[in-house]
Every structure is written in structure tokens, then in C-alpha cells.
Amino acid sequence: MSISQPIPTHDHTQIELGFLRKYIFSEDHKMIGIQFLFSGMIFLFLGGALALLVRLQIGWPYGNLPMVGNWFPASWGGKMSPEFYTMIFSMHATIMIFFVIIPWLTGAFGNFLIPLQIGARDMAFPKLNMLSYWVMWPSFILMLISFFVAGGAAGSGWTAYPTLSSAAMPDGMTGSPASPNSGTGQVLWLISLLFAGVSSMMGSVNYITTIINMRCPGMTLMRMPMTIWAMFVTAILQAMALPVLTVAIILQLLDKTIGTTFFLPPAGMAFGNWHTGPGGGQPLLWQHLFWFYSHPAVYIMILPAMGMVSDIISTFARKPLFGYRPMVYAIAGIAGLGFIVWGHHMFQSGMDPRLGTGFMIATIMIALPSAVKTFNWLGTIWQGNIQYTSAMLNALAFVSMFVIGGLSGIFMAATPVDVYIHDTYFIVAHIHYVLFMSTIFGIYAGVYYWYPKMFGRMMSETLGKIHFALTFLSANATFYPMHIIGVGGHPRRYFDITIYDTFQHLQPLNAFMTVAAIILGFVQFIFVANFFWSLFFGKKANRNPWHSNSLEWAAPSPPPHGNFEGNVPSVYRGPYEYGHPETQEDYLPQFEPNGPKDTPGGSH
């Protein structure tokens, strides 16, 4: 079996491969990472378009939608239907989470960076790696097909709570008795996520093996860059949490198709299982299983960004990372605590309130490692020598925005406040501050920073800074007022709030946010333009354009097949030796044999 075969090491010359093997069915981790990057970008724009549709409806409820209105069926009269609205916000969340953020962070950056930063020639299992990308494609395709089936794509939120999502479909019909868009669309949604889960699982097993077993000489665990630590912990989270989601998805799929009753309640329901009537299951069980995965998944969606930002901040502040060990422990702490706090999504769900008390304490304590990380980032730039490159600006924005996202989380963790705040726009503000404002800024920072290594050319700094400034401005304008309307009680997932006396006065803010969101959406084209323009016309990058320390900068840009010319480099110190008093330059790469050596921080 070739999967356990280490990659051939005797031949370091560029192996000439055909177009298909080189760009499509590539086993090279760098190409797979870039493939993930591009497919994530496509879905970012699909998800973004859906978000704008959602915002248009909330901004001007029942308005005649310009342009878009013409594509709707004639019977809608240029307006959106509530079912269609439900569908697009469900799909917006699904696509952004499962097809953009996770593939970008773990797929693109994980694949590209892990072997380079630990000094390996490739992943431990290149074929498995290729498979993990190509298993995503059935997932992509099924999700896209689901838009065109009867009833439309899944419309029960990205959380797909039974019984709205799981009420079984009648024989010979495509709809569900609970909702027209929880029929075939929901089944495709489930199958699609099953594939996405398998892909992530392959990836995570591969990453863990690679990080444990393929490090180059001298690369002890405590000399690994934070990116690698973050990827490592993320992969462990995925390996342990994803199977639970897989089970939940399979059980719901069985409920919908063959008539089992895992999530259908015993009695007292208008539509039980289509085949048998009342079931004996528990709708709450889905929420437990789902959040057992999805809460750690929230950390899967931010930890890698935290790691990358740590590296970038240290590089451009020209100063060692403040508190390397506390940072590592904080990541591990977040991962460990992340598994015992899922119940805070369910305080109002009918779960036993005594469990709520326990989950509340655990949840509040998880703010602690996040706080430690924030203080350490601030400690890193303090007394630094900060270079304001596009990457650094995005990274600083990450820190700033993560503070907001993290602090607003404490409101939800507090059970009594959550009674009021739960499922209002405050939550929407929180998740967007964590997932958009933090993670996406982290991703942009990563792209600007590693672009020279990926493609051998520099991105335009001018365009990058314009893009950053406009994004930072419009994103804050879009998402910050959500806190305020959330405090006003504006419920999330509402098609129209103007029918409520309690909420209708919040409508002007809604309209303002929609305008800002449209600007935010269009600003992103600057990034795309910069990305593709630089691909062909950008300045040629040298080996180490940022004067960084970590191992990937020892390889040529872009790195050839096998990553490193000659022997893999050996590592002599940690990755953050910036501004060392004994050196001429203000940086001292890990792979540089001469110069002061630190004592290795630890071993495996």
C-alpha cells in the first residue's frame, strides 16, 4: 500500500509532470493548497452574493429588488418570498462556513504551510491529500444542485434543527411536511456535508501524522511556529469532533429517507414520521450532537487564523513573539475547553437548566485563554518596530476585531443575559466579528504574507492598503450596528421586522447596514483584481522578501517539487529571533547554522 510510503527523496530535480498531474490531480501539497484557495474564493463570492440578497431584504422589506428582482419567478412580482429568504440565509451560512472558511484555513493554508514550515518535502500521505481535495467536489456540486431541486436548497438554517429539517418526506414526494425547502434540498445538504466532513477528516489525519512524524532535524515541538501549533490543534479538534457530526448527519438522513425516528419525538406532533406516526426520538439530541461538533468547529475556524496572525505580527513588529509558551498553552486550553462548552448554544433549547449552569461556567472560562492570546499579541507589538505592510495591517485588524468578537461572546455565555440576547442580532454581530472580521482578516493577512511564496511574485502594496482600509471601514459599518439592534431585541433570521411594534424603530439602522454591506461586497473586487494582476504582473519575489525566520523562507519562491533544494534544512532555534542583540541583521532564521543558539524549548 503506497499510502505508508515516504516520498522519494533521492531525486530532487523538478519532476516534469503533465498538465493534468501538475495542476489538476496533483499530489503536491502546494498545488492542493492553491486549489483549495481558488475554490474557496469562488464560494466566497457565491456566499457573499447570498449575504447581499439577505441584506437587501432586511434593509428594505418587501422592496422591489433592482436587477435581482427580474430573475425571480414572475408570480413573485420582483419581490422575495419568505421561503426564498430562509433558503438564502441558510445557504449563506453553510457555504461560508463549510466551503470558504474551513477549506481556506485548513485546506489552503494548512496544506501549503505545514510541510514548508516544518521542513518536510511533502505531506505524509500525498495521495490521501489529493483525495481530500477531490472529495470536496461532490460536496460542492451537490450543494449547487440543491438550489435547483423542487422546493429549493435547504432552508432550516445552517444548524438544521429537527423537526423543521428532519420531518420525513412522504413517499413519492420531494417536499417535507414541515417546510417546502426541507425536502430534497435538505437531503442534498446532508449528503454534501457528509462529503465535506470526510474530506476534512482525511486532511486532519494527514496533518497530524505529518506534524508528528515529518519534522526536519532540530525542529522540536517548542520550535514550531504558532501557525503549525494552531494547525496541529485544529486537526486534533477536527479528528475528534467531526465523527460526531457525521453520525448526526447520517441519523438525520436516515430519518428523512427510510423512516427511522432518531430525532422525531414520541407523541404530540402534527406530522410524525411519515411512515409510522409518532417516533420515540429526541429533537434535542440533534442539537447536542450538532453542537458537540460545531462548537469546536468555531475554534477550527479561528485557531489557524490566530496562528498565522501570531507569525505575521511577530515578523512585522520585528520582535520575538511575546510569551511563546503561554500562547501554545492558550491554544491547547481553548481546544480542551472547547469540547465542554457546546451547551451554551442550547441554554434556551429546553435542555435541563441545571446543565445550563455548568455549561455557563465552562463557557465563561474559555474567555481566559483568548484574553491571554490578545494580551500576548499586544505584548509583541509593544516596543517593536512595526512595518505597516498590507499583511501586518490585516493582522492588526484581526487582533482589534477579535477583541470585540471575544468580548461580545461573554454576553451570550451569561445565561440570564442570554435569555434576552439569544437568537437576536447580537449573536449575528458576534459570529460575524469572529468569523468575518477576525478570520477573514486573518486569511487576507495570510494571503498577502505568503503570496510571494505561493506564486513567486509580490502583491501590490498600494492596492492592498486601499483594499484593507475600505474593508475595515465598511465591515465595521456593516457589522457593528448589529450589536445595537441586537440589544434592541431584533430577532435574527427575520424576513421583516416592521410588523412588530417593539422592533420597527430599528429599521433605519438596517437600511444603513445594507448600504455598508453592498460597499463591503464590492470592495472585495479590489482584492481579486490585485490577486490576479499580481499573478502575472507583480514584482518578482526573492527567497525571503519579508526577512522572516521560519523555514518556508529557506525554500525558493515558489518552492519546487520537494520544497527544498538539496538536503532539507536543519533547525537551530525558535522561529521568532527578531532583533537579536548579538546579530547584525534584525532577524535570524531558524535554518541559519551560524549565530547565537537558543536552548531548545523542549522535545516531544
Binding site: 418570498s81 419568505p82 430562509t86 432552508g155 432550516s156 423537526t163 417546502p180 425547502n181 422525531l264 404530540g268 406532533m269 513588529a317 520585528r318 520582535k319 520575538p320 510569551g323 511563546y324 503561554p326 434556551q348 433549547s349 429546553g350 437548566p353 449552569t357 465563561i364 474567555a367 481566559l368 484574553a371 491571554v372 500576548n376 499586544l378 505584548g379 509593544w382 516596543q383 518596530n385 512595526i386 505597516y388 487582533v399 482589534s400 477583541v403 470585540i404 454576553f411 451569561a414 445565561t415 440570564p416 435569555v419 434576552y420 437568537d423 457593528y480 445595537i484 434592541g488 430577532p491 433570521r493 427575520y494 424576513f495 410588523i499 417593539t502 424603530h505 532583533g579 537579536h580 534584525d586
Partner: protein, 301 residues
């Protein structure tokens, strides 16, 4: 731009910070709290807002100052430091104490709101059956039917509770069915048995600071006690009189996605000025429901 970026960050973050002070003047703030645990919830909200606001200002000011003070100076080197053990201990310990404190102070409020064992004897019992997309309330003819007095033994209390739950699950012929309206009076402890006949809903009364999801197959009790009235029943005109201002139009909203018309599950909360007013309304409602044909009454559950 160099130091300019520090200003750029500063201006935007200042704007976000000021928004919290501007918003209340436009009325973009917590709606009036009119239940007994409203003030507790709001107090906790302000407490957390205070602490988070402090740490927000602290971290952002440090960030912006550092961006200004330590921006790039060519040829210079940064201060070489790998961290400070004591500093780490301090900024781990202080937030830990604060967070633990925040966690502990709210336990009792949470218990008051949600623990079944802490719910007081109900003056009014309402059965709410949620369905796509409306709330169907049912009131017993006898207002204080499921109330127990102070001297009741735990076993008697349990029997009462069981009877209330049995009533919530099996409609009786003389119940009064009303759609989308909660009626109670000031100072009455109101117990609501929540059920759903189809999907998950979330019974939310923003003014009462109450929210509870309904679960198919389960009957979940919640309670509240209003501290202000917004209506009285005029026995002469046989109409409810509500103050005309928007702030006194208290509503019920569904806050758990329940299908396309999720947003339209709107109900109203009427808190009568007195028990008499409530009972006057109840009497009127009985007459109303008696004039309806019997099947409709049966189908109301």
C-alpha cells in the same frame, strides 16, 4: 502612511465606542423591562457591558498607542524580549477572577428564571401550543385552579403541578381558547406550559426578558410576573384599552427558525391593571367562545 494607520484605527474604533452612547438617545436600546426578573437581567447586562467596555478600551488604546509609538524607524532594532513570566501570571489571574465572579453572580438569576423547583404557585396558568405560524393559548375557566398555598406539602405541590401539566396536555371542554394573546394582571405569577405540535419555536417576550424554545414531545413550563400594566378591560364597551404609545405594545415573537413565515409569529401581551379587569375579560372571552361552534373549540388545541 506609518503612524496614520494608528489614527485610522483610532477613529473607527472610537466611532464604534461612541455608538453605544448615541444609540439610547435614538431609542435603539433595551425595550422596557416589565417583569420581576427584568431588572436582574438588565443589571447583569450592564455589569458585563461595564467589564467588557473596560477591557475593550484598555486593549484598543494599548493597540493604537503601540501602533503610534512603535511605528517603523529604519535602522533601529526592536527590544529583544521573549515575554515576561510575571506579566503572564497577572493577566491570566485578573481576568480569571473577574470571569469567575461574573459567572457566579448570575447563577441565582438563572435559577429564578428557569428552575422548575423555584417557580412560585401560579395565579394564572396558560397552555400555549405553538404551531406554524401562530401561538394558541388556552386558559382554564377557573383562574387560580392550579395554585397552591404556603402550607402545601411538597407532595401536594407535586400533585398540583402534575394536574396542571395534565391539563396543559389534554384540553378540557370549558377551556377558553385564544390565539396569539397572553393575558394576565400586574403582580400575578403567570405560568405558561409550552408545547408545540410541529417544529421548534421559541416563545419570546422581549419586555418580560423571557425566552424558551418549545420542543416537540415535551411540555416546558416557564413563568413570569409583570410589574407594570398596559391594558384594562372596559366592561361597558367590552373592549381592551391599550395606551397608544409604542413602548407599551408588548409583544410575543418566535425566535427559533420555524419555516418560511417564522417572522410572522407575532403575539401580544396584555397585562391588566387588576385581577378584576382580567376576570372581566375572561368572562367576556367565555361568552365569545360559547357563541362559536363546538368543533372549532375542539380543534383549537
Amino acid at each position: 502612511m506609518g503612524k496614520g494607520w494608528s489614527v485610522f484605527f483610532g477613529v473607527i474604533l472610537l466611532a464604534t465606542f461612541l455608538l453605544w452612547f448615541v444609540a439610547p438617545f435614538y431609542g435603539w436600546w433595551l425595550p422596557n423591562a416589565v417583569s420581576t426578573f427584568g431588572p436582574d437581567v438588565d443589571w447583569l447586562f450592564y455589569l458585563i457591558l461595564g467589564f467588557t467596555g473596560f477591557f475593550f478600551v484598555l486593549t484598543q488604546v494599548v493597540l493604537i498607542y503601540a501602533m503610534w509609538r512603535f511605528s517603523y524607524r529604519p535602522g533601529e532594532k526592536s527590544t529583544y524580549s521573549h515575554g515576561n513570566h510575571r506579566l503572564e501570571m497577572i493577566w491570566t489571574a485578573i481576568p480569571a477572577v473577574i470571569l469567575l465572579g461574573i459567572a457566579i453572580v448570575q447563577i441565582s438569576v438563572w435559577q429564578d428564571i428557569k428552575y422548575q423547583s423555584k417557580m412560585p404557585p401560579p395565579d394564572v396558568t396558560v397552555s400555549v401550543m405553538a404551531r406554524q405560524w401562530e401561538w394558541r393559548m388556552r386558559y382554564p375557566l377557573e383562574t387560580s385552579r392550579f395554585k397552591w398555598d404556603q402550607k402545601a406539602t411538597p407532595e401536594e405541590v407535586r400533585q398540583k403541578q402534575l394536574a396542571a401539566r395534565a391539563w396543559a396536555e389534554n384540553p378540557e371542554i370549558d377551556d377558553i381558547p385564544i390565539a396569539n394573546e397572553i393575558h394576565t394582571w400586574v403582580g400575578a405569577s403567570t405560568k405558561i406550559y409550552l408545547r408545540t405540535q410541529d417544529v421548534l419555536h421559541s416563545f419570546t417576550m422581549p419586555n418580560m426578558r423571557i425566552k424558551q424554545d418549545t420542543l416537540p414531545g415535551k411540555t416546558i413550563p416557564i413563568w413570569f410576573k409583570a410589574t407594570r400594566a398596559n391594558t384594562f378591560f372596559d366592561t361597558n364597551t367590552r373592549k381592551l384599552r391599550i395606551p397608544p404609545n409604542r413602548a407599551d405594545a408588548w409583544e410575543i415573537a418566535c425566535q427559533e427558525l420555524c419555516g418560511g413565515r417564522h417572522y410572522a409569529m407575532r403575539g401580544k401581551v396584555y397585562v391588566h391593571e387588576s385581577r378584576e379587569s382580567y376576570e372581566g375579560w375572561l368572562k367576556h372571552a367565555v361568552e365569545q367562545s360559547n357563541s362559536r361552534e363546538p368543533e372549532k373549540v375542539a380543534a383549537a388545541d
